[in-house]
Symmetry: C2
């Protein structure tokens, strides 16, 4: 389907995409670039990429598909680095967890080439990062949200849908704004809660003793607290407007449960638990609507 993938960012997300495309026979050659030369070298040694590019610009040169898999805060600089070699036939995608800021950066930088860029968010990941965890199955069975804008070229949009579908993803479309509101709620807020929970307990006089007693529930609710700090700083800051709104709504809901406990109103507390329990028992990941 494609001759050459230009991969900018050879970490977990980018590396897994390259492996998935190779395994599916969708690309002949992968030219990769990472900010850290040792990462690029490691990616080549592992067979994730075929050729090491000395710059983002040279990774794009000659590519017919480009994946930008860098921290969201580095997206704008990446657009600037590559814009001189972008051609109209080149499909450019990202994998950023926020979309409004990425689309804004694309508008500012790409100008005439804006139509080549298809903003994507594959809902996949691990709490570990780095090319050594790259996995051809990372995206399989997962959702990918594409957030096209008015200038996105339909041919590129269709190709983006095809490539994600070909590696096993369920593709859907939203506006960048709706995307960011939704992910503030179901991804960024849960991360914020998991980070806060760890810090809240550890900051107490017997915090370490308490933590040693955590069971399976604690393990699961805090798993994502181990996520990479720099990456999550970028995501939370990029989407902080929506996230702050979600956090306030959450705090109101938490306060409601706390009020029920403080006033000894067990019935009110049980009604709130029952509502949550029913919702969660009926929830399934990747349910097609």
């Amino acid at each position: 389907m494609f001759q050459q993938l230009g991969l900018i960012g050879c970490g977990l997300m980018g590396g897994s995409f390259a492996l998935a495309l190779k395994r599916a026979g969708l690309v002949k050659r992968v030219v990769g670039y990472s900010k850290s030369p040792s990462t690029t070298e490691r990616a080549r040694q592992m067979g994730v990429i075929d050729v090491e590019a000395p710059s983002a610009l040279l990774a794009v040169s000659g590519a017919d598909i480009v994946l930008i898999a860098v921290p969201v805060s580095a997206t704008e600089a990446t657009f600037k680095a590559i814009r001189h070699l972008i051609t109209g036939n080149m499909l450019i995608m990202d994998v950023g967890s926020t979309k409004h800021d990425v689309v804004d950066a694309a508008r500012r930088v790409l100008r005439d080439h804006l139509g080549s860029f298809v903003p994507c968010h594959p809902i996949a990941g691990k709490e570990v990062s780095g090319v050594e965890h790259a996995d051809a199955d990372l995206y399989k069975g997962q959702q990918v949200i594409i957030t096209p804008i008015e200038r996105t070229q339909v041919s590129h949009l269709r190709n983006a849908e095809k490539v994600w579908t070909a590696i096993g993803c369920h593709v859907s479309q939203m506006s960048p704004e709706s995307h960011d509101a939704a992910f503030a709620a179901v991804s960024h807020l849960p991360h914020l809660l998991a980070f806060s929970l760890m810090n809240s307990i550890a900051g107490q006089p017997f915090g370490q003793e308490f933590l040693a007693l955590g069971g399976p529930g604690f393990r699961d609710t805090t798993r994502i607290a181990a996520s990479e700090p720099k990456m999550w700083r970028d995501i939370l800051m990029a989407n902080r407007h929506e996230l702050i709104a979600q956090t306030r709504e959450f705090q109101r809901t938490l306060q409601e449960m706390q009020d029920a406990m403080e006033s000894g109103n067990g019935d009110a507390l049980e009604a709130l638990i029952a509502k949550a329990s029913k919702l969660r028992a009926g929830w399934r990941m990747n349910r097609k609507s």
Copy 2:
């Protein structure tokens, strides 16, 4: 080791204990009682218990080991129902997730037989309940916290340790008060957060659309929100004093992250994430100290 287990409450926790004891050859006969006759009948049909008792009192008759596996709010009534047939040689244990209230109930009701009661909290469970989910492996490899009081008989304490160890548990001891503070932090608060997260998102105009986009992180952080409402109402209410203190501490920590976002202080936010990430990456369940 034991002749007869008197099982009061034939649900997930009680049923799994009976199955584990039987498989380990630690008990000859299990006499069971549940509030709902259909549960007791089902437990017998499944081979979880051997004999159905028509009352809690008759489940205790002739037993040398008794497990009370009822909601914590029903513990005091259970003590009252069985106290006339308790003997000095009978080991009585519970599996309640809170211990201060259970110990208080025991002090009020058991009096001369208080020494026979060994308060236990096995840190095991599933987000589903009922005897149909009973599993001989539920407790295997899990921690059990025993919270003896000054009147607990040492011989019973040793036997309680032996029986949990024999079915594969790691046993440790704490005071009832320390136990409740610790579990407010690592169990009850995570449940409260998971309940609140579900309700907070679902209560918004596009809540259902948002929920449909949840990925693996959302799945894991909310798993325990599907827990049984009545049981968790009881636990949260029984331990609400400690839980409210933990919730306030959590809200302070969450506010600290929100302040960093609101003031645009990415460095402060990253430092808080890094602290949480390091803590969680270094955490292991059931680590022996």
